[in-house]
Symmetry: C2
Subunit: 338 residues, 2 copies
């Protein structure tokens, strides 16, 4: 009764088929690559799609193919460590763009609290996404166990400690990078080099320390090793502890830019100048590093490429290809702090 037709039904594949004078099957074939379709039919279909303004229905396709057409970006890190980090945004954006190019979508999942973790595990195991981009660095993550158990295609950002070989991963050469930075510091003439390592249950915490120790060789002094949790506060605390133990330090290699910044603060409080009295080097080349005062010498991680590679690897796994891992190069960025 005088109903306006503004909210008309979205055109379906049947409408397109009718408009093009072909069958649904042919339309479907044109949409999916167009093999075994005559040029005439293809043209007619493409024209009909244009005229009708047809867009495929995601849900219907998923139902028929059994594929969700989306990947999860799964954050398991406690918020204060990663979520506020600008590099995380780069990672996220890179993944979103890599997926958009493939007409897939990114679903953001946050697994902080135990309740959230359970929900997430359930959600992912239920097949609501085709795979998981796992942003977690801590060893023996129960969520990871659940994912492996459920056979969900997963790719890890950074080496999955305790599960190397169980899933694909994109990482950087932690050990080599740490050696390179240590070598650089020694080449600058520093001899008493301390390090502020990350937690031992993270790949960066473990292997950067290994690289540091190896490169130092006989000059390695266990007294010059402290640990933090990658935050600036922990860097400040670690540097303070080091200085309480000895003032005979001429350089510090911190496993993150945040800890390097904290170390600079601790040194300033102790009346020491950077880099004149003590050189300080960071790791990551996060946004912080360049804008810091003084600008931090650091090891750049290829944040812009990381998530793109993760997506590539994950899609391979989903397609049933053999699991593959990738190691990306880092780059020494020399600024003022060391």
């Amino acid at each position: 009764m005088g109903e306006t037709t503004t909210a008309r039904r979205r055109p379906t594949i049947r409408d397109v088929a009718a408009a093009a004078g072909v069958s649904r099957g042919t339309v479907s074939r044109v949409i999916n690559g167009g093999h075994w379709v005559s040029p005439d039919a293809r043209d007619a279909v493409e024209d009909a799609i244009r005229r009708t303004g047809y867009t495929a229905n995601h849900a219907a396709r998923s139902l028929a193919t059994g594929r969700a057409g989306s990947l999860a970006f799964l954050l398991t890190e406690p918020q204060h460590l990663l979520f506020a980090d600008p590099t995380f945004s780069l990672l996220l954006r890179g993944a979103a763009e890599a997926l958009a190019q493939r007409s897939m979508t990114l679903v953001l999942l946050v697994a902080g609290t135990p309740a959230e973790r359970a929900n997430v595990a359930h959600f992912v195991s239920a097949g609501h996404v085709d795979g998981v981009l796992l942003i977690s660095s801590h060893e023996s993550d129960p969520l990871l166990e659940a994912l492996l158990e459920a056979g969900v295609p997963t790719v890890s950002c950074g080496l999955p400690l305790g599960h190397q070989g169980d899933l694909a991963a994109v990482s950087v050469d932690e050990e080599g990078s740490a050696r390179a930075m240590t070598r650089y510091l020694r080449e600058q003439g520093h001899r008493r080099i301390a390090t502020i390592a990350g937690p031992d249950d993270t790949p960066g915490g473990r292997y950067r320390l290994v690289g540091f120790r190896e490169e130092m060789g006989d000059a390695f002094d266990p007294e010059l090793v402290e640990r933090g949790d990658y935050s600036a506060e922990s860097g400040l605390a670690a540097m303070t502890r080091l200085l309480e133990r000895t003032r005979d330090i001429d350089a510090v290699f911190a496993a993150s830019d945040g800890m390097a910044a904290g170390a600079v603060q601790a040194l300033a409080r102790a009346g020491l100048r950077v880099p004149e009295d003590v050189a300080v080097a960071g790791f990551d080349d996060s946004g912080l590093a360049a804008s810091h005062e003084p600008p931090l010498t650091t090891m750049r991680q290829p944040w812009d490429r990381l998530s793109g590679e993760m997506v590539t690897l994950l899609l391979e796994v989903i397609d049933g290809a053999p699991r593959r891992s990738v190691t990306l190069p880092t780059e020494l960025i020399v600024r003022d702090s060391a």
Copy 2:
């Protein structure tokens, strides 16, 4: 032929119905609230769900209901302004959690390049999501026009300049907040107060300046107004311009913490101390503010609540309720810089 059955089919609603000895319809009713179901039937179904490990198929449900079960988190801001901002992460996380509570998912969309914008507009208009959480502050965004045109339920983060009234929005009282900060500065005894406003095509840029001007009253001096784009670099440049014009300034109100930080840098280069010579106040209370040296006095935006409110409002619109907007309170945070 000896095929393992590990990769068994996921249980469907039919399996549950069979296990419970009822029909599909009854199972569906139990799942969706359970009205008009006898207690016996409900128990049987719930037990069957447990035994079979049943999980609803998202795609099938979407197809039948015509609802996607997801919202888009749509970023239209140029990356350098917002993406690296820790507050953005809070926003994102808040939205993800609010949705997870409702068993919905968050799809991240990035519309930076023109190609991306076109894709996003198409994607959203095609109904792949139920609504859009729009994170954009610039006036006359063509993407917003496209969304309104297509009738996509949308809620804006911050007042949508040029489209107030056309869509729901969650915002803060820009004008009142700016007045409060200005009043505070005057109460501290400052008389020559400059401001570094944001771009005039953003609500923060426009209304914070309005509030500042009104609160200054007769003391308002157009010579003491500069604009930036919220970044630290622009704050530095703006403060430098102000100082070139006059040294008769005893306080600066910047429309973002980043610009406040830039202003502090410019003042330092000019040999002026903060807050002794010039007081500096920011806006946002982003992560930067507290860790800045000196810690910034600023206006806290309720980042943690913002996206939760956005989700609430958007779901209301999707459910056909009348459009509603919300204004959240800000809070003056006094630290060392002013």
